[in-house]
């Protein structure tokens, strides 16, 4: 069995056993949050890490997923499963349409365009009050049912979200080690050279953008069904930047970067929420963003490829693996 599959199975086993060993609703709820973010970052890592295309607007897709499923299931009585799929389809469609002009842009301009897109969608959540409820929020989103089984408590929801995360990680991992994954990485490596070997760059950028939008949308939908109440502020530009922090912290040299980055982010914010008021009693609001700012700057200056890359460097597993030759075959790198 390949080393990378083994890791996945071990991880799945850990996920499966955790609630049986640790009985804490607080910890479960944290892991559920990590699950939502891991799902988003899984798609984003493919987009940013592997294909090298920055996005500062993915909170928009997270929000579109959340509002679509909220609107269809609460207002129109759709089955949540269907409304989640509907959200994903809408997100995919919007990503496709927006992506065509957007991915003609590079670097700075791409960053600005995706940021602008995020702000526009956020404003729509705020202003289209008849559908979204505006700043008052959207109440009464039903929970998800599978036959008679209702994902209403944390333990059940935990299994639901992590099943989806695992499936998406597996999907991404399969992509990376294939013709498509190489095409994506070649775009980051050198657009001129990928053109020269016949890779339709635009097509792959769009595909991975749509994929990342679907991941974010499903995560947002599940989030909506989990918290049952959403409001626009949960989907503003800050969230897009938080996603960015997670992806950068985790890094893109392995698909696990998404999970690691999300975990670091969620755990750090929980920790800061506990510790900061003890140290600085007068600090209210989102004081903790100082730490995320510092984290971002330090990561990018000293560890630009994220924690997973740093780990690989330390353990000397620099050689990349392919189907026939898992990293195990090569042994130590440099």
């Amino acid at each position: 069995m390949h080393e990378r599959r083994l890791g996945t199975w071990l991880f799945a086993l850990g996920i499966l056993l955790f609630p049986l060993i640790v009985h804490s609703n607080y910890l479960l709820s944290i892991l559920i949050m990590i699950g939502f973010y891991s799902l988003v970052c899984n798609g984003l890592t493919m987009l940013m890490g592997y294909a090298g295309q920055i996005s500062l607007g993915h909170a928009a897709f997270y929000g579109i997923g959340a509002y679509t499923t909220a609107y269809l299931s609460a207002t129109h009585g759709w089955s949540p499963w269907l409304s989640i799929i509907a959200g994903a389809v809408i997100s995919a469609f919007i990503a496709f349409i927006v992506g065509i002009p957007t991915f003609k842009l590079k670097g700075h301009y791409l960053a600005l365009a995706t940021l602008g897109f995020g702000v526009i969608v956020y404003t729509c959540f705020k202003e289209f009050t008849s559908i979204t409820g505006g700043m008052n929020g959207f109440f009464g989103i039903p929970s998800i049912k599978l036959f008679a089984w209702e994902f209403s408590n944390d333990a059940r929801f935990y299994y639901l979200i992590w099943t989806v995360v695992l499936l998406s990680l597996l999907f991404s991992q399969n992509i990376i080690h294939s013709r498509v994954g190489r095409a994506l990485r070649s775009i980051e490596g050198s657009e001129a050279a990928s053109d020269a070997v016949g890779i339709d760059i635009m097509r792959y950028k769009l595909q991975v953008f749509v994929y990342s939008a679907i991941c974010a949308s499903i995560a947002g939908s599940l989030y909506a069904h989990y918290v049952t109440f959403i409001n626009p502020q949960a989907f503003d530009a800050m969230l897009s930047i938080y996603f960015l922090i997670m992806v950068i912290t985790g890094g893109a040299s392995s698909i696990w970067g998404a999970v690691i980055g999300s975990s670091v982010f969620v755990l750090l914010s929980e920790l800061l929420k506990e510790v900061v008021p003890l140290v600085f009693s007068n600090a209210g609001g989102e004081f903790e963003i100082v730490f995320f700012g510092v984290l971002l700057v330090v990561m990018l200056i000293y560890m630009p490829n994220g924690l997973t890359a740093a780990w690989k460097k330390i353990t000397g597993k620099w050689r990349t693996s392919t189907t026939l030759s898992p990293a195990a075959k090569g042994g130590g790198g440099r």
Partner: protein, 261 residues
């Protein structure tokens, strides 16, 4: 002027202007199947620009390019590559974020089929295709002599090997024509000699080459046909012997080369 053989690439009255600069000025020539054609000329003569036009990176101001009978002027670079024309770059463009063999496997992109969905679900055909392409990539690396480095990260390769890697990646696409932009630049004598051997061997296997080179010894030794550019204008064309005898060429290019060195 007419050579025997089947024409693979036709460059017809190509002109390219950058603002006021005419980088390529009304250049025409043919490349025959199975031949090695050299494009020479002093720095800034327009050689790279010509390559960029042929491969679709730049659109010509006027003129047409025909490849294998089809008009490829105005086609996108990847479309031209898919028709069977690949290239290497004067300033290396290796995928530094991949291993050596993955670079070459990426080169085989156009002959593979796996789609996004198939790849994600890893249907059985994907596995088969992956295995086949990895073996093929290995053979390409063997041809250029760096198979032992297959699982190294591409960015750790020394300069000369990166040049060879670009060639391996180009042949993995199973093209009919390869354009090499100054393949010997920065190589030492031994590496250059090996590269010449590689090119000659690949030609024997049926590949056609167009290459840009400053080292006249190599050019004279391996090319069947030479096109000379100066200031964007084609000032001469012919076999190595003809080029030696061409006064305009000697005056404008070879003479200048000698005074410089």
């Amino acid at each position: 002027m007419k050579r025997n053989g089947q024409v693979l690439l036709t460059v017809e009255h190509i002109t390219k202007q950058f603002g006021g600069v005419v980088a390529v000025n009304d250049v025409s020539f043919d490349v025959n199947k199975g031949e090695i054609l050299a494009v020479i000329g002093p720095n800034g003569a327009g050689k790279t620009t010509l390559f960029n036009i042929v491969t679709g990176i730049l659109a010509p101001s006027s003129g047409t390019v025909r490849f294998n009978g089809t008009d490829i002027t105005g086609k996108k670079p990847y479309q031209i590559a898919q028709l069977g024309m690949t290239r290497t770059f004067q300033n290396l463009e290796v995928f530094t974020n991949m291993s050596v063999i993955e670079n070459v496997m990426t080169g085989a992109h156009r002959n593979m089929k796996t789609s996004f969905l198939q790849a994600g679900l890893r249907v059985p055909s994907v596995k088969k295709e992956e295995k086949a392409v990895e073996e093929k990539a290995m053979r390409c690396l063997e041809k250029v002599g760096i198979a032992h480095l297959a699982y190294e990260r591409a960015e750790t390769l020394p300069y000369g090997n990166q040049r060879l890697l670009e060639i391996a990646r180009a042949i993995a696409a199973e093209p009919a024509l390869i354009l090499l932009d100054e393949p010997m630049a920065g190589l030492n004598d031994e590496e250059s000699r090996w590269l010449v051997e590689v090119i000659l061997q690949l030609r024997k296997e049926g590949l056609t080459f167009v290459f840009v080179e400053h080292d006249m010894e190599t050019v004279m030794a391996i090319s069947d046909h030479i096109v000379v550019l100066d200031n964007g204008v084609k000032i001469g064309e012919g076999t190595p012997e003809e080029i030696y005898r061409n006064k305009a060429v000697v005056a404008a290019y070879l003479g200048e080369e000698e005074t410089v060195c």
